[in-house]
């Protein structure tokens, strides 16, 4: 039992040395012989992605940067859904050109190099924690601007020409019903609310929209916000070709309102304002009712994802108390689905 853990520890010891060497070599090549790496530190322990912060110091100048890296420097450990880091870097370039605020990419490191599969991007100052953005006084002005800015950012993401993009998976509404229903059935833990949601989604599926670039996880937590509002859109791992309403609705899912449930858009705004800003920035003109189907899909999807995280505890893959306890959050998605169904009744 101890062996896998021992291998992980050894791998991690090797990792820091490799990363320091890889980054130092790159800094000297790009910033000059006097350049050096400082303050290298791991920011998150994500299973599919390592995130490190560091500075490049060259003479008087110090540039804050972020390293995104596949665990251990190899792509094998990334989940099947996630795109590769090279594709993520290419998306940052493409969306930057479309006018979306994203961190500029400084370097892309291929698999097999000293650094491993990774890329380096600018470190944008600001906050990502949803609860702080929604409550702290320093974000008061930001909160009044975020709805407009998110509408514009989404319209620009959805306007990126598909012809110039790297190869991305396609996932439309029907693909997502089938995928999450298969995961749900595999658990064999019947939940009547989810059963009703799957049945309703199948019976009420809207005409698919023209496929666009979809961010896939556009919500507080993955957005850097400063005192002026939206500073950068992060975490493009789940990007795909899909329906633009998926991104708009995901930002509305109650799990991402962080308690500010009266503000349908991310806990900070109203949907009419978001849709107006989206259309004004060149996006399609949607009505709030167009978003309902995708918000129900989003709440159901997150519920199934929480079941999956509990599943990692159940099978022993991750025996942590956190993975066990998340199974008791699935009922949050069930009440959100019921509230959404009741809302449909009121609108009809």
């Amino acid at each position: 039992m101890a062996r896998p853990f021992f291998r992980v520890i050894v791998a991690k010891m090797g990792t820091v040395t490799d990363i320091e060497k890889g980054l130092s070599d790159w800094a000297v090549a790009h910033y000059g012989a006097a350049a050096a790496i400082a303050g290298l530190r791991r920011l998150s322990g994500g299973a599919s992605q390592e995130t490190w912060a560091f500075e490049v110091e060259a003479g008087e100048k110090s540039e804050p940067l972020i390293l995104r890296r596949a665990p251990g420097g190899t792509a094998a450990a990334r989940s099947s859904e996630a795109i590769t880091l090279a594709i993520e870097a290419a998306l940052l370039d493409a969306t930057d050109k479309a006018g979306v605020r994203v961190p500029g990419v400084r370097h892309v490191s291929p698999p097999g190099s000293v650094l491993g599969e990774a890329f380096v991007m600018k470190r944008v100052a600001g906050e990502t924690l949803g609860r702080k953005i929604l409550r702290d006084a320093e974000f008061e002005t930001a909160r009044t601007r975020l709805t407009q800015q998110c509408g514009e950012a989404l319209a620009r993401i959805h306007s990126v020409p598909l012809s110039g993009l790297p190869n991305l998976p396609t996932s439309l509404g029907r693909n997502q019903i089938d995928k999450y229903e298969a995961v749900y059935r595999e658990f064999d833990l019947p939940r009547p609310v989810f059963e009703l949601a799957f049945a309703w989604l199948k019976d009420n599926e809207p005409e698919p929209a023209d496929p666009v670039l979809v961010h896939g996880d556009f919500r507080l937590g993955n957005l850097i916000v400063d005192e002026n509002g939206l500073a950068a859109v992060l975490d493009w791992e789940l990007a795909h070709i899909g329906d633009p309403r998926e991104d708009i609705a995901w930002l509305c899912v109650n799990s991402w309102r962080f308690g500010q449930t009266e503000n349908r858009v991310g806990g900070f705004g109203q949907l009419d304002e978001l849709l107006d800003a989206y259309a004004a920035a060149g996006g399609a003109r949607y009505r709030p009712a167009d978003i309902d189907w995708w918000e129900i899909m989003g709440s159901l999807k997150w519920g199934v994802m929480c079941m999956t995280m509990y599943g990692a505890f159940k099978t022993g893959a991750d025996p942590s108390v956190e993975r066990a306890a998340i199974g008791r959050r699935v009922s949050e998605n069930e009440i959100d689905l019921i509230n959404l169904f009741e809302g449909l009744g009121r609108h009809a």
Binding site: G45, P190, P192, A199, W200, S320, R328, I335, I338
Partner: protein, 123 residues
């Protein structure tokens, strides 16, 4: 079998140890997991108190909805899922949404009584 201390008292003692002793001495990820552990014990305490009555109400509603005298709530829920999947029951079925709402409110009152969606449902 005796119950001095009772299961409830033991859980309360462990929760108190986590809250007042362990959590303040831990940092970073371990402190986070200690808080999750304490919240999990709070869920267990609520469940011990609320589940018997909540599950009895759920059984009564399911038996009425499915016109069944099955006593096992798990089997009743399996039956309800099958009825929904085969379209014999849907959102328009009288009593279905009311039943699911009551059951989910009872479940969340155990799992996450502070969740915002619970306040929305109560309105």
């Amino acid at each position: 079998m005796h119950d001095a201390p009772s299961a409830k008292e033991l859980i309360e003692a462990v929760k108190s140890f986590l809250d007042k002793t362990a959590m303040v001495q831990l940092q970073g990820h371990a402190a986070f997991h200690a808080r999750v552990a304490s919240n999990a014990l709070a869920t267990v305490l609520r469940e011990m108190e609320q589940r018997p009555a909540a599950e009895a109400r759920e059984r009564d509603r399911l038996q009425a909805l499915l016109k069944s005298d099955e006593a096992d709530v798990g089997k009743l829920n399996r039956k309800l899922c099958e009825e929904i999947r085969t379209k014999r029951v849907d959102l328009g079925t009288p009593g279905l949404l009311t039943h699911l709402k009551s059951t989910t409110i009872d479940q969340l009152s155990v799992d996450q009584p502070g969740y915002s969606g619970l306040r929305t449902a109560a309105r």
